[in-house]
């Protein structure tokens, strides 16, 4: 369970998140839905521990990981993985090395076996020795997910991971993501501005506007919401 209690955050003087409270259940996929600049990515960064909240606290599995201007648990100790919007694949490493890097540096055992396991799961075995620039958009996406999952995180944070893909590929990867929850017992927090994408995979949808929660609930509840902003947002 991930809980955000009365979180605020600013970039310089600009307030991005304003007294926001939210909870996300374990082993479920929660979609943060909203237009550009509504604070979706900031929420992910706060949960990951890459930014500190200006106020409030963040709790993961009943443990406070961040509080006002303080990172209590370091990002690497939160058991979170993150898929960045630009994927952040290290361009000077092969696919294999991208996936193995974290394991090797943490001096974990059976690195090779674990890497091969995720490569096989994502159908990337034949691309193991390629560099990111030699892959297609969809393959890069899968490598980024594989890189996060190999470290066995409990929570996977996904920042608009399918933004630049065509519909067919989106569908394929969305299926993959749905499988992930079952296979890896994951809690996924998924950021998107595309309500169709959110409705296709989410257990819970949170609609954000200007750093605040406008509405939250199941896909059906959001579809039937009377909230003016939500209705407006879903029209486009």
């Amino acid at each position: 369970m991930v809980k955000l209690n009365n979180i605020s955050h600013t970039y310089g003087t600009k307030s991005v998140i304003n007294d926001l409270s939210l909870s996300m259940e374990a082993n479920r996929l929660t979609c943060l839905l909203g237009s550009s600049g509504c604070g979706k990515t900031t929420i992910l960064r706060l949960i990951a521990g890459l930014d500190k909240p200006a106020s409030g606290e963040i709790i993961i599995d009943n443990k406070t990981v961040s509080k006002k201007n303080e990172i209590v648990v370091l990002p690497q100790n939160r058991a979170t993985g993150m898929i960045f919007q630009d994927l952040a694949l290290w361009p000077h490493f092969t696919v294999y090395k991208n996936i193995a890097f974290g394991l090797t540096e943490r001096k974990e055992k059976n690195v090779k076996e674990r890497v091969i396991e995720v490569l096989t799961f994502f159908g990337l075995t034949e691309h193991a020795n390629k560099y990111p620039h030699q892959l297609s958009g969809g393959q890069k996406q899968l490598v980024a997910i594989a890189r996060s999952l190999v470290l066995k995180p409990k929570i996977l944070l996904m920042d608009e991971p399918l933004a630049n893909l065509d519909v067919k590929l989106k569908r394929k990867i969305l299926d993959h993501i749905s499988n992930l929850i079952r296979e890896f017992n994951l809690t996924i927090i998924y950021v998107t501005h595309d309500h169709k994408e959110a409705f296709a995979i989410a257990d819970k949808v949170v609609v954000l506007n200007k750093g605040k929660v406008e509405e939250e609930g199941s896909v059906e509840q959001i579809k039937e919401s009377k909230n003016e902003y939500v209705k407006f947002f879903l029209e486009y």
Binding site: Q76, T80, F84, A88, H92, P132
Partner: protein, 526 residues
């Protein structure tokens, strides 16, 4: 600052050493000229109408050079960066050679040219001659700056223009206004470099403000006046720099790697031949002809001069390369530390800003002034170990070239998305390992390029070295310059040809090494 010291000891040490050893001597000399009231009053009386006229002459020469270089550089920039000209990659590199060759080499070559063609060097040994030589040297800089700006224009902006207007209107109303900051910056930078240039007017025997400062300092030992004159020159440079500082401070044109993938390129059609001829002629005049002249002068009658020149220069090769390598390593280190600090603190800190400003200040300070300042400051019994050795020369190199290194590396680091580092952080990779395994490999091509550029600049540096070199220093530019007054012109040409060839060979050698590194790392971000 207190937290910075604790958190980043290496950065703090580098910053403090830079301020104390490099910035302070120059600032101290500059301030002394104005705050030492007695000598200021006395010296102000020494500034005669002739000095003012000399300053005006230097301003006029610099403005002429800046104007013509910017014009021809912009034209070359357009032809090579904005059109589909054949072999443009080769031309872009080849045309940059004058920028990397020490200016005095080209001055000697042009002097020889007029000597061969007209029987004397009267035409080139004039203000017009200085302007001509400097224009050939600084045009590539204008080409680099404007070419980069041309490449940076998003194709959509010009294509939107074409929807409503023709080529000429789009060029004049959209393209040229978009590159205006680059054109102005190019003019300002070239003006500053030209007015600060010492070696070309000195070799051509033309009295300008920098040579006058050198004479006052080295021949008449009138240090106070030399410093006051330096201060006048420095004020002009700094005023110009800070009036047009933003673009120059960012110096986005100083970068290595791919750029402008999304820019529109034009077909020259019937203008293709004139355009191609212009590029070829410019390359011939600025690179090939000087080399041919020096070659011709050297081997005109016999090979005796060449052998003598080689013997004279032989002891300098090792020293020059060692000094330039040491200088380049120190410069790259300082540039890297400054750039990495800015990369880490996403919003620039006060210390980071001041570090950048100091480097910019020194970059714009004429070499002669840096030289005078270093001598004045380090000529003290307690600092003898710096004054009487190579350290003072290295400090001079650092003062002059750190800005270029910091900008080259800073611009390379700007291309690395923060997410690259953050992704590794989330995987539990330590800060040091992230630095070593992620950041360093990604900036490796730029690190290497910065080293090459710093090395080549240090190898040919004369303006500071001529002022600060300790007696008995055997390095290439000093050897050529000091022998010039008493040796036959053919011997000077031979020595210059050797220096030219050594520099060129090193550039070519480094180019192939860099090419293989960049090819291996074709993944580089940005």
């Amino acid at each position: 600052m207190g937290r910075t010291i604790i958190k980043q000891p290496l950065y703090t040490i580098v910053y403090l050493l830079f301020v104390l050893l490099v910035v302070f001597p120059v600032a101290y000399t500059f301030l002394l000229a104005f705050f030492n009231i007695d000598s200021l009053g006395k010296n102000l009386q020494l500034i005669s109408i002739e000095t003012v006229l000399l300053l005006l002459k230097s301003v006029l020469i610099a403005a002429t050079v800046a104007l013509f270089s910017t014009f021809s550089g912009t034209l070359l920039g357009f032809l090579l960066y904005k059109t589909k000209m054949k072999h443009s990659s080769f031309f872009k590199l080849a045309l940059l050679i004058p920028l990397f060759i020490s200016p005095y080499i080209l001055a000697v070559a042009w002097k020889d040219f007029f000597f061969i063609m007209a029987g004397n060097s009267n035409i080139i040994s004039s203000e017009l001659g200085v302007a001509l030589v400097l224009t050939t040297i600084y045009t590539p800089l204008a080409m680099l700056i404007t070419g980069n700006a041309f490449s940076g224009i998003d194709s959509k902006l010009e294509e939107s223009g074409f929807m409503i207007a023709g080529f000429h209107r789009t060029m004049s109303k959209i393209t040229l206004p978009l590159i205006k900051p680059a054109v102005i910056s190019s003019f300002v930078l070239i003006f500053i470099f030209s007015i600060s240039e010492f070696s070309v007017p000195a070799i051509l025997g033309v009295k300008v403000f920098t040579t006058e400062i050198f004479t006052q300092f080295s021949a008449f030992y009138n240090h106070s006046l030399a410093i006051l004159q330096s201060a006048l020159l420095l004020i002009i440079c700094l005023l110009l720099l800070f009036a047009e500082g933003k673009y120059i401070a960012d110096a986005s044109f100083l970068s290595v790697g791919n750029r402008g993938n999304n820019t529109k390129t034009y077909q020259l059609n019937k203008r293709r031949l004139p355009g191609f001829l212009f590029v070829i002629i410019w390359l011939f005049i600025s690179v090939i002809l000087p080399f041919i002249i020096l070659f011709f002068q050297t081997f005109n009658n016999e090979t005796t001069n060449f052998i003598r020149a080689f013997k004279l220069l032989l002891p300098t090769f090792g020293n020059s390369i060692t000094l330039a390598t040491t200088g380049a390593l120190v410069i790259v280190f300082i540039g890297f530390v400054a750039a990495y600090k800015n990369y880490l603190s996403q919003t620039q800190t006060k210390t980071g800003k001041s570090f950048d400003l100091f480097m910019l200040f020194l970059f714009a300070t004429p070499s002669t002034i840096i030289g005078i300042s270093l001598i004045r400051f380090y000529n003290h019994p307690a600092l003898e170990f710096i004054y009487s050795g190579w350290t003072i020369i290295i400090i001079g190199f650092v003062a002059k070239f750190s800005f270029i290194a910091a900008r080259l590396l800073g611009n390379a680091m700007k291309k690395i998305p923060a997410s690259m580092d953050e992704a590794a952080q989330l995987e539990g990779i330590s800060k040091f390992k992230r630095f070593l395994r992620i950041i360093v490999p990604l900036v490796l091509p730029s690190l290497f390029a910065t080293f090459i550029i710093s090395f080549i600049f240090s190898l040919g540096e004369l303006g500071i070295t001529i002022m600060v070199y300790p007696p008995g220093t055997e390095i290439m530019p000093i050897k050529v310059y000091t022998i010039m007054a008493n040796a036959p012109q053919s011997l000077v040409s031979s020595m210059t040809l050797i220096v030219f060839s050594v520099t060129l060979l090193m550039i070519i050698g480094f180019y192939f090494i860099a090419k293989s590194i960049i090819k291996k790392q074709s993944y580089v971000v940005g």
